[in-house]
């Protein structure tokens, strides 16, 4: 019952991590990518080695395209980010950066501003919808549990947990983006939504055990403090919680080290989210029910 006995410590630790994550988001911000703001992104590679970035920037500036940021991309490539380009401007840009050495275009993405703002809208709605549906489902699945915490109490606990579980990887990404220049893209949203679905899985296993113990105790007329029930449930499910996350972590590490460039940031955010989410499910989800139970007790 290590965790329930020291839950004060874990709540504080959570507070600290959360403060760090929120701080990172507020301080550095989450730089929004093309999918949200609209704009164009060109990746090119130079077969005989990349010319100096300053030279490329100079060549880019000969075409009037507004502000174009030029960054190194991979070994001998360059990525160029600008406002939404027309097909003609895109061709002109490619010609400009090929004046000294031939640039081969690896990929080109251009998103109109209208589409970008729509995606932002949709992404926020999707996250909201997933959380709502999960809460409703939990409240339904635990409908037979009423004491000492009513079933919707489990739902509310899950919302609190999921909020934290999203803020931590987002905070990590804010710091990561600050260092590497990565941007929030649609895959980041995918990572967030997939995390919501996955992390709640861990919470459910622990809650399921609590549910089972409560039912058994009631049937057998066995008196046990709610705190003990929770502590027992966490201990019994701990190996399982760690092991299932470990297998996902192993798969994600393989994806980060060996997988495609396009999904690397995505896998990294997933990795941080899964580790943080598992930690939070084990140390906080069920312990959070204890103060909730006390509150309901006082109310009655």
């Amino acid at each position: 019952m290590f965790i329930t006995n020291h839950r004060g410590f874990f709540f504080w630790l959570t507070g600290l991590i959360l403060a760090g994550a929120v701080g990172a988001i507020l301080f550095w911000g989450l730089p929004l990518g093309l999918d949200f703001t609209g704009g164009s992104l060109v990746h090119v590679s130079y077969e005989n080695g990349r010319p100096a970035l300053a030279d490329i920037q100079e060549q880019v500036d000969t075409v009037s395209l507004g502000v174009v940021s030029v960054r190194a991309f991979g070994e001998d490539g360059v990525s160029l980010r600008s406002r939404t380009l027309t097909p003609e401007e895109h061709t002109a840009l490619l010609a400009a950066i090929s004046t000294d050495a031939l640039a081969t275009e690896l990929s080109y993405t251009s998103v109109g501003p209208a589409l970008g703002s729509q995606f932002t809208n949709k992404a926020l709605w999707a996250i909201f919808a997933v959380v709502l549906v999960i809460v409703l489902y939990i409240a339904f699945a635990f409908r037979k549990v009423s004491r000492p915490v009513p079933s919707w109490g489990y739902g509310i606990t899950v919302v609190a947990m999921l909020t934290i579980d999203l803020i931590v990887p987002a905070g990590f990404f804010a710091a990561y983006a600050h260092v590497t220049g990565a941007e929030v893209d649609s895959l980041f949203v995918v990572a967030m939504l997939a995390l919501l679905g996955y992390v709640v899985n861990d919470i459910i296993v622990i809650f399921d055990r609590v549910r089972e113990h409560l039912a058994r105790n009631e049937k057998l007329g066995f008196k046990e403090s709610f705190e003990d029930t929770i502590g027992k449930s966490i201990d019994e499910t701990m190996t399982r919680s760690i092991n299932t996350s470990l297998t996902v972590v192993l798969a994600l590490i393989a994806l980060i080290y060996f997988g495609a460039e396009a999904t690397r940031n995505f896998a990294l955010v997933m990795l941080v989210g899964v580790v943080a989410g598992t930690f939070s499910s084990i140390t906080r989800s069920a312990p959070l029910l204890i103060p909730l139970a006390k509150w309901f007790d006082r109310k009655n």
Binding site: P87, H90, T104, E105, L106, S107, Y108, T109, S110, V111, G112, L115, Q118, F119, N121, K122, A123, A129, V130, V133, I134, Y137, I138, A141, L187, V189, V190, A194, G197, Y198, V200, V205, D208, R209, E212, N217, L220, F222, E236, T239, R240, N243, T244, L246, T247, V248, V249, A251, L252, I253, A254, L255, Y257, F258, G259, A260, E261, T263, F266, A267
Partner: protein, 449 residues
């Protein structure tokens, strides 16, 4: 026991067949079941257009959109692309207004400028006389321009008249010309009775009716050998020979072939390594059940690949990532079950009982956990863009498949090998987990009263 052994052998055979199917269809370059690769892997261009429906009455929007799709499809085909894909999408932007989009996928094309130009140019509708010319022994068909084109057509309508088959009315396409066109049409028809007058759309002949007689009055009827559906489509194409609604390029993306090829090989390597370490971990930790889970995982992967081929799901880099992640998640239910089995063993149950009860007790958590994952996957799919959907589809399929593989395959395999009676030291060892960090004394059961 015998029943489970038969089932286990059956499951293994199905597994081998699935692996064979995946292997055989992938090594055969002509197979219809090869993996369909998305543009980010195969290389190519995706263009997203917004259809401006502000001038179109709301009742005709669906028609206009499908006509637009038809026009663009014809132009794409002219552009000479293998397996192009033109899709329409009605997106409601939650603000209450719907937006109609046209998504054009051009595999292998990386010149966006040329593609945009080819799709955006105004289409041509024109009428040409068919002149069979005999060169030696072969008869070639030559077309002679008449000067009559889409500018003179005021509208086309669908009609039904008495056809070749007595008693049945045959669908007809009625062309209405404007005054100038009517004069021109009368002149052409009077001079060429008995000849075929071909109708060209975007440079392709779509119908070649025979001129029966001189036609005054600016109305022509095409009584071809077509069905009602064909006639309706022809009317639509004629009316919408030009783009029925203005379109505006909203987003475009192009991926060169090198980047895509690198993404594929990286995905394959990551998949194999990810699978291997997950399987090794399961065997090292859970011993016999772990081995069973690893076998079930092989079947899971074979099944997923087969499903992706058969549906077919278009694979993208994000889809491959989704597949690799679900390999890690697929053992989730197994871990739940095995941990539960172990607990039952500690309480003194025989191995077989423990396995049975372990599955039973783990069920509610497996059900709730998988359902919430499926819910989030479905909402992800609704989010839309192809990158997101590529992941979401694989994710949902993976969760479903892992659900089935854990509660059926692992169970069948495990029950096929765990002995009926008694518990030897060997089975106690085989069903326990591999490493012990601390003495795990189970909490005592509540006393029965």
């Amino acid at each position: 026991m015998t029943r489970y052994r038969v089932l286990a052998v059956f499951a293994l055979i199905v597994g081998f067949l699935l692996i064979y199917f995946v292997w055989a269809t992938e090594t055969n370059p002509y197979s219809a079941y090869r993996f369909k690769l998305g543009l980010d892997l195969a290389g190519g261009t995706e263009l997203v257009y917004k259809a401006d429906m502000s001038q179109t009455p709301s009742g005709e929007r669906a028609d206009a959109l499908s006509a637009l799709q038809g026009v663009i499809e014809r132009r794409v085909n002219l552009f000479g692309v293998a397996e192009p894909l033109v899709q329409t999408e009605r997106a409601s932007a939650l603000s209450g207004t719907t937006e109609d989009r046209l998504i054009v996928d051009l595999p292998g094309v990386t010149d966006i400028k040329a593609a945009v130009a080819a799709l955006g140019e105004t289409p041509t509708l024109d009428f040409r006389l068919v002149a069979p010319t005999t060169v030696g022994t072969t008869t070639a068909v030559a077309y002679i321009a008449t000067g009559l084109d889409g500018r003179y057509l005021s509208s086309a309508t669908l009609g039904f008249g008495s056809g070749a088959t007595a008693g049945l009315s045959a669908p007809q396409v009625i062309l209405n010309f404007n005054a100038e066109g009517a004069k021109l049409f009368e002149k052409i028809t009077s001079e060429n009775v008995g000849k075929q007058l071909a109708i060209f759309l975007d440079g392709t002949p779509i119908s070649s009716p025979v001129i029966q007689e001189a036609i005054p009055g600016g109305q022509a009827t095409i009584t071809g050998q077509f069905t009602a559906v064909e006639a309706r489509d022809l009317v639509r194409n004629l009316n919408f020979g030009a783009l029925p609604v203005p379109i505006e390029l909203q987003s475009s993306s192009a991926v060169g072939p090198t980047l895509g090829a690198a993404a594929i090989s990286a995905g394959v390597v990551a998949g194999i390594i990810g699978f291997t370490i997950v399987a090794l971990f399961m065997i090292a930790w859970y011993r016999l059940p772990g081995l069973v889970a690893a076998v079930a995982l092989v079947e899971y992967v074979a099944f997923m690949l087969a499903v992706i081929k058969v549906i077919p799901v278009t694979l993208t880099a994000s889809g491959i990532a989704g597949l690799i992640i679900t390999v890690g998640m697929a053992v989730d239910a197994n871990v739940l079950i095995f941990e539960r089995t172990k607990e039952e063993l500690r309480e003194g149950k025989t191995p077989r009982e423990a396995v049975h009860i372990g599955f039973q007790r783990a069920w509610p958590a497996i059900r709730d956990g998988h359902l919430t994952m499926i819910i989030s996957g479905v909402i992800l799919f609704w989010l839309g863009t192809s990158i997101v959907q590529g992941f979401a589809l694989v994710f949902v399929l993976g969760v479903l498949a892992s659900f089935i593989s854990a509660v059926s395959l692992s169970r069948v395999f495990l029950l096929a090998v765990v002995p009926e009676e008694g518990s030897s030291r060997f089975w106690g060892w085989a069903l326990h987990s591999g490493f012990r960090f601390r003495a795990t004394t189970p909490y005592p059961l509540p006393p029965t009263t």
